[in-house]
């Protein structure tokens, strides 16, 4: 046991030295005050222990004085280290320094120190008690301060601070135990075990290995994942900063984080940023800057890697926000243009109606007053026909401009029921038209007025342009991958393939006489597109073959299939 204790004593000395070297290296690299005090603390400890080992009990008196100074300096240096995270009240330092200097002076007077195991005189015992009290006071202050400093910190910073708090406590205990001068092997071994573990704790907490950093960051990384999900719903650059920066702070254990666009606009700042940032991560259009917290005095390789991942996320979110913003603006512009156009068409149509109604009214009055027989009767009739045609044009234009407007709520529209009424109306205008429905037509979830317009126009169109006295219009449905296809076929003259697309243009007509306004099919196309479908003519051997595709979302499936004639 005694040998083991002696071996551990040497191991502890080496660990003190290693910790001092680590502290010094950090200090040289980053100039952080904490590493300077850590290096000093452990260099002092290493020196005290090594001198004890090398010089043995036969020491010159000046070396004894130095040993006392070293032992008294250790808790002072540790207090300095703790103060770098958050300072103690001002009166602390003169009191602590005075007490330390006093102890060293007292110790110097008492030198040469008794060898290990040698009985102590009463003066010496009193001195040791004073020294132990000094240790206890300072170690307790350090422990409490480091423990408290961890409160409210991200997991990594909190664990580091608290590990150091525990280490300070254990080291204090070890030194107090040493102060008793108990030379039993078990006590000596216990002291060395405490020393070794305490130093390992300090080393781990101060220069935390990557594996531990990663493990201690798990909670924050989970949060980051949540932030990433939230970021995918963000629509502006400032919102990106608002969502991202608090998480950057937490995950990196930073005092502040700032996202600045390349043009210098600060998109967001979270926390208190002063001095130069500890980490500066450039993105495509912005830069992410992070200030280390006083509790994690600098950023290591791990933080830099994590920071780069955060940057990537921020970059994606910014690019996404930018695209969304652009898309939103473009859509608003289109919507505005559409609204203006609709308003224009509407008011133009409305204002055109007024003089036309007056013109028609006077033509009626003229007819009532009695126009002399002959050419004048014909002229009045033609004027009336033209005015009526213009009225029809205006009405159709008005309908066309209304398709996109949401003036009637969608409803369950039974095409099967509707087709009977529409066929009846069409047959009144075009006698000799028979409409045959093959199978059951779907029910639609749509604006009933528009569906009626669509059905009326396509059947009207088939009847009007068949070029025959008697026309049969056959309507059936074919299921497709995307939904339903409505087929409207007639046995008329058909439409030449080269005109299949043209006829859907506004004011496009294939015949000039007695035709419609050339708006009917354009209206049909707008209505089907509004339903999410499409309309087109397909090549056919007999008559015109019109296809209307309707997406599944617009239809309510039908059940039965029967063939019947809806109008005799």
């Amino acid at each position: 046991v005694g040998d083991a204790a002696e071996l551990l004593r040497q191991v502890a000395a080496l660990l003190y030295l290693a910790t001092a070297v680590v502290g010094l290296r950090w200090y040289l690299r980053r100039r952080a005050a904490a590493s300077k005090w850590l290096a000093a603390t452990f260099a002092t400890l290493a020196a005290v222990v090594l001198v004890g080992i090398v010089a043995g009990d036969a020491r010159p008196r000046w070396l004894d004085v130095l040993l006392v100074a070293g032992v008294a300096a250790y808790p002072y240096l540790l207090l300095r280290f703790a103060a770098t995270f958050s300072d103690f009240p001002a009166p602390t330092w003169p009191v602590v320094t005075a007490a330390g200097v006093g102890l060293v002076a007292w110790g110097a007077v008492l030198t040469p120190l008794p060898a290990a195991g040698e009985p102590r005189g009463p003066g010496m015992t009193l001195f040791v008690v004073a020294l132990v009290l000094y240790f206890v006071a300072l170690s307790t202050a350090v422990t409490v301060r480091l423990w408290r400093a961890g409160a409210g910190q991200p997991t990594l910073a909190r664990r580091r601070m608290r590990s150091m708090a525990v280490a300070a406590l254990l080291l204090g205990l070890a030194l107090v135990a040493a102060g008793t001068g108990d030379q039993r092997d078990s006590v000596r071994l216990g002291i060395q075990v405490l020393s070794v573990s305490t130093t390992l704790l300090f080393l781990t907490a101060f220069a935390t290995p990557g594996v531990l950093r990663a493990a201690w960051r798990a909670a924050e990384e989970d949060q980051l994942y949540q932030a990433a999900i939230r970021l995918m719903g963000v629509t502006s650059a400032t919102e990106v900063a608002t969502v991202l920066l608090p998480h950057v702070r937490r995950v990196l254990g930073a005092r502040a984080a700032r996202l600045t666009a390349n043009d210098g606009t600060v998109l967001g700042l979270h926390g208190d940023a002063d001095g130069a940032p500890g980490l500066r991560l450039p993105l495509a259009d912005a830069v992410l800057e992070v200030w280390p917290s006083p509790y994690t005095p600098f950023f290591g390789l791990e933080e830099e890697r994590l920071g780069r991942r955060l940057t990537l996320l921020a970059g994606l979110a910014l690019a996404r926000a930018e695209l969304l913003g652009r898309e939103l603006r473009a859509r608003e512009e289109i919507e505005n243009a559409n609204r203006e156009l609709e308003a224009f068409v509407y008011s133009a149509s409305h204002d055109l109606k007024t003089p036309l109604l007056a013109l028609l009214g006077f033509l009626d009055l003229l007819g009532e007053a009695g126009v002399p027989d002959g050419d004048a009767t014909f002229y009045v009739a033609r004027m009336r026909a033209n005015a009526l045609y213009m009225q029809e044009l205006i009405a159709d234009l008005l309908e066309l401009s209304r398709v996109g407007r949401v003036d009637i709520a969608p409803d369950d529209v039974d095409l099967d029921g509707l087709v009977g009424t529409v066929a009846h109306d069409v047959a009144e205008r075009h006698p000799g038209t028979t409409v045959v429905v093959d199978g059951t037509l779907p029910r639609l979830w749509a604006n009933p007025t528009r569906v009626r317009q669509l059905l009326t126009n396509v059947i009207d169109n088939a009847a009007k342009y068949s070029g025959r006295e008697r026309t049969t219009v056959t309507i059936d449905t074919v299921p497709t991958a995307a939904g339903t296809e409505l087929r409207i076929r007639d046995d008329g003259a058909g439409i030449p393939t080269e005109h299949h697309e043209r006829v859907f243009g506004v004011f496009e007509r294939l015949e000039t006489r007695e035709g419609g306004t050339g708006i009917g099919l354009a209206l049909c196309r707008k209505i089907t597109e509004e339903l999410g479908g499409s309309i087109r003519f397909v090549a056919s051997d007999a008559g015109a073959d019109l296809r209307i595709t309707l997406p599944a979302a617009a239809t309510i499936p039908a059940e039965t299939t029967t063939r019947r004639e809806v109008r005799a």
Binding site: H350, K353, T354, L357, A358, G361, D364, L365, D407
Partner: protein, 145 residues
């Protein structure tokens, strides 16, 4: 002998005013006294008996065009129906618009009917029907306005 039905017609288009006046006066079985104004502001002056209309009696019924200069038909309707005294006068819109929003807005503001301007023949039939309804079928409020 009952007095004729006093109808205020607010219409900015002179030709339409002419047709409406004629259609109203030509109704054989209902006696109608037509007063016309050219815009919404004049219509309000008349019902409030302001300015040139200080000694005009209150109309029994108002026919209101929607698109008029100065004050639109809907503005006039809103003001009339917000007034505790004037709101008792039935107001019918007579417009060439058959826009669902216009119809809805008119009824929402408390309009009593919405007639569409179509051809001359339809105008005669519609106004004949309306005057028979307001002048013979329904009972209108009487007493101090």
């Amino acid at each position: 002998v009952t007095r004729p039905l006093r109808v205020l017609v607010a219409e900015d288009d002179p030709d339409h005013r002419f047709f409406i006046r004629r259609a109203l006066e030509d109704i054989e079985d209902v006696s109608v006294e037509v007063v016309t104004v050219e815009d919404g502001a004049e219509a309000l002056d008349l019902v409030h008996r302001r300015g040139a209309y200080a000694d005009q009696p209150a109309p029994d019924l108002i026919l209101l065009d929607l698109r008029m200069p100065r004050r639109s038909g809907l503005e006039v309707l809103d003001e009339l129906k917000s007034d505790p005294t004037l709101r008792t006068i039935p107001v019918s819109i007579l417009s060439s618009s058959d826009r669902a929003e216009d119809v809805l807005a008119a009824y929402r503001l408390g309009g009593n009917a919405y007639l569409r301007k179509r051809g001359l023949r339809e105008l005669r039939a519609d106004l004949g029907g309306a005057m028979r309804f307001w002048g013979q079928i329904v009972v209108l409020p009487t007493g101090p306005a």
